[in-house]
Subunit: 151 residues, 2 copies
DNA sequence: CTTGAAAAGAACTGCCT
DNA sequence: AGGCAGTTCTTTTCAAG
């Protein structure tokens, strides 16, 4: 499937606010409501739009600390990768697990109530994961999500 | 505002799929449709739910490479931070800009069509940003998003 | 692609317990 | 806080140009 310019404009609009009805989107695109709706359906069935997810303000829920971790494994066999992934995905404070190539093997996004809580998570949960070697941490100060290549 | 157990269950359901109507959510929670709808409204007005955004499969749009970059600035005055942020947010391939504390000053999420395309972005866009010092890269192999503390 | 319409369903409102 | 009933709006599917 090859999205045309109108599809890209549609993705741009939906990326900013996925709650807009097809009628409003259509007006902004110069299309009718059914035509807009059909384009959305086509993008969903092509697997381009995979779903709609919530934006949750974790700070308002009491999770004020977000940390990005780089994790290096000591042993990197196929088995240890799977062991590590199974264990790390079971930690409630872990929001994202990314297997990467480079100086580190995994990049994690971890949240905690405060720094004291994060230390607990790091020492009792992360450092005890199977096969963990070096760990590097970056504490989030501020964050901006962009449209990326959709823009 | 203090979310109760039902609110947490609601957040859990919405986090998995934000397209579910209030009637379906209510059935799963043992609540009526209006009661569920009112809880969603309350969470939105409390700022806990900040919006609904699309999940876009960038690979299907031709962006097969995702790289996580750690960026260290050479000069770190207040002015240079703002200069850097203004310049980096203008790069289409940059999906996320996070100001962090630690070994690096910023963590970026960058997408590109392929590795050759990424090299172009890195050399002509990233390395030429104002004040850029060391850069570290991790290429994404696989990724798993989790519910995090909402679970 | 468009318009127009009709049916189903979801969102929203007011009133009640 | 929750349920019920009713209204408004969106979605979804159709027919016809």
């Amino acid at each position: 499937m090859t999205p045309d310019a109108t599809d890209w404009a549609l993705l741009r609009l939906l990326d900013r606010d996925a709650t807009q009805p097809a009628s409003v989107l259509g007006r902004k695109l110069g299309l009718s409501q059914p035509a807009t709706w059909r384009r959305i359906q086509r993008l969903e069935q092509a697997g381009v739009l995979t779903g709609r997810r919530l934006e949750v303000d974790l700070e308002k829920l009491g999770f004020g600390v977000t940390v990005f971790l780089g994790v290096k494994l000591a042993t990197k066999g196929r088995v240890s990768l799977e062991d590590f992934e199974r264990a790390v995905t079971a930690i409630p404070e872990v929001q994202m697990v990314v297997h990467v190539l480079g100086l580190y093997d995994y990049r994690l996004r971890v949240v905690a109530r405060d720094l004291a809580d994060f230390e607990r998570v790091l020492r009792r949960r992360i450092m005890t994961l199977p096969g963990v070697g070096d760990v590097e941490a970056n504490v989030l100060l501020s964050e901006e999500r962009l449209a990326g290549p959709i823009e």
